[in-house]
Amino acid sequence: MIDLNFLSYEFMRNALLAGLAAAVLCGIIGIYVILNRIVFISDGIAHAAFGGIGLGYFLGYDPLAFGIVSAVLTAIGIGMVSTRARVSEDTAIGVFMATGMALGIMLLTLSQGYARDLYGYLFGNILAVTRSDVLLILTLTLIILALVFLLYKEFLLLSFDPVYAEAIGLPVQALRLLLLGMVAFSVVILIKIVGIIMVIALLTIPGAISRRHMKGLPAIMSGSIFLGAVFVIIGLLISYELDVPSGATIILTAAACFFLSTVLSR
């Protein structure tokens, strides 16, 4: 069997912690993304974050922090556009997404030694998660957990029936921006783990499977967290043992489970 020696490596411990935090985020935020039908927005935010990552890299600061800032700004931008619609929302997302990617690639190329890191951001490398990354990821996860705990009934109302919610006085616009902001945080964290290209899979697959088999939001969220953790751990172990890319392994594990669950639930 797999020996547990791998836990004696710090990079493996970091990877495991980051992965478990990511699972918690996917489990909770992913469900809201599915229920509010903001999958495309979330993907747009992830891609736009690349511009910030590139800028941070170029200037020699922490790319992850810059990525978070640009993701949040994009989230707010998209959220504003969708209410004061002169441009349709999906057009706006398309523009943000491509601009972010283009900026990111440009800035990374202009920096030294970009190739290895570019690959890491696009496809993820959980084994490259550092101790400070882990601290940042855990902090963000705790903040998001606290927000969801405090605003659970508000987010449920917003997700189920925004028209009614607004009519009875829920600050719908502020909550939607907050939700997009939480998506932005989550997405940047997931970029570290599975990369920009595959973020959306990890955000939605655990929720999509859990939703099929569980009843009620809390149960679906718990199931989704559990599945996310399983995918990350299995993916991590396989990638460690076979020396294959971790992001792709995690996503393939999730996808296999998704198709299996689709076939079985027929």
Partner: protein, 269 residues
């Protein structure tokens, strides 16, 4: 059970001006220099059941939104229970035009009804025992108590509609605003639904404003009718003259003005 509901309401602090619950004076709403609502005046009293009819785009939903405090009038005054509309929300129940939701949305009927308690609870405060009891009572009032633990998507259209009425009732309102609540429900269920509204109005004393296209059906149930097309045609009664209707709809409308039920037969082409 009906009694419990009434008793609960009596214990609530009711603002002053108990009798006059809605007062609107010379109210105007303009969009892009174009009047959507023009010089609207309307008074509603406890126990009223007002049917609000009028052509599409005549401002019916806008007027409801003003009453909910979602749209600020450009001119004029409006108070509900002596308060500005946004401050009176906990006394008002609202049921929007056809609630569109994902039929597999993972939420139980009871939790849907609880959503209506938000206007009483406010941000970040959890629903407690009292809220759950109110939700159970509201479900009982609409005859859906045995559906409390079902998922909302598993109910029929008519049952879902009742649940949404329960959601608007759960804050123990003295006024219900219903925006075309029967859209997309078959006619047998519509009749049941109107009977339910009559029960809420007569037995629980809840004032109702019912926005509808369906003049024929509602005129049998409501106690007052108003017709809205930018201006409001209303005489504080069930009577509307054919001149009112003609002005409101902008074309002659054949109608039987007296006798029950009042009927608008068809619009002139």
């Amino acid at each position: 059970m009906t009694e419990g509901f009434v008793k609960e309401k009596a214990l609530d602090k009711v603002p002053e001006n108990m009798d006059k619950i809605v007062s609107i004076r010379d109210l105007w709403v303009c969009r892009a220099e174009h009047a959507v609502l023009e010089s609207i005046s309307l008074e509603l009293f406890a126990g009223d059941f007002l049917g609000l009819i009028g052509p599409n785009g005549g401002g019916k939903s806008t007027l409801l939104k003003v009453m909910l405090g979602l749209i600020k009038p450009d001119r004029g005054e409006i108070t509900l229970f002596g308060l500005p509309p946004a401050a009176a929300r906990s006394h008002v129940g609202y049921m929007p035009q056809k609630t569109i939701f994902d039929s597999s949305f993972p939420v139980k009927v009871l939790d849907v009804v609880l959503m209506g308690r938000y206007s009483r609870k406010g941000l970040m405060r959890r629903y407690g025992h009292e809220d759950r009891e109110a939700a159970q009572r509201a479900l009982q009032a609409v005859g859906m108590q045995d559906r409390a633990d079902r998922e909302i998507g598993a109910l029929s259209g008519g049952e879902q509609q009742r649940v949404f009425v329960a959601r608007s009732l759960v804050s123990d309102p003295q006024l219900l605003l219903l925006d075309e609540p029967t859209a997309g429900v078959d006619s047998a269920q519509q009749t049941d639904f109107y009977d339910l509204l009559c029960h809420l109005n007569r037995d629980l004393g809840i004032a109702i404003v019912l926005v509808s296209h369906d003049v024929t059906a509602i005129s049998t149930y409501v106690s007052k009718i108003a017709c809205l097309n930018q201006r409001l045609y209303y005489h504080g009664s069930r009577e509307l003259t054919s001149a009112d209707i003609e002005k409101a709809y902008g074309c002659p409308v054949e109608m039987i003005a007296h006798g029950t039920p009042h009927r608008v037969l068809r619009e002139h082409d």
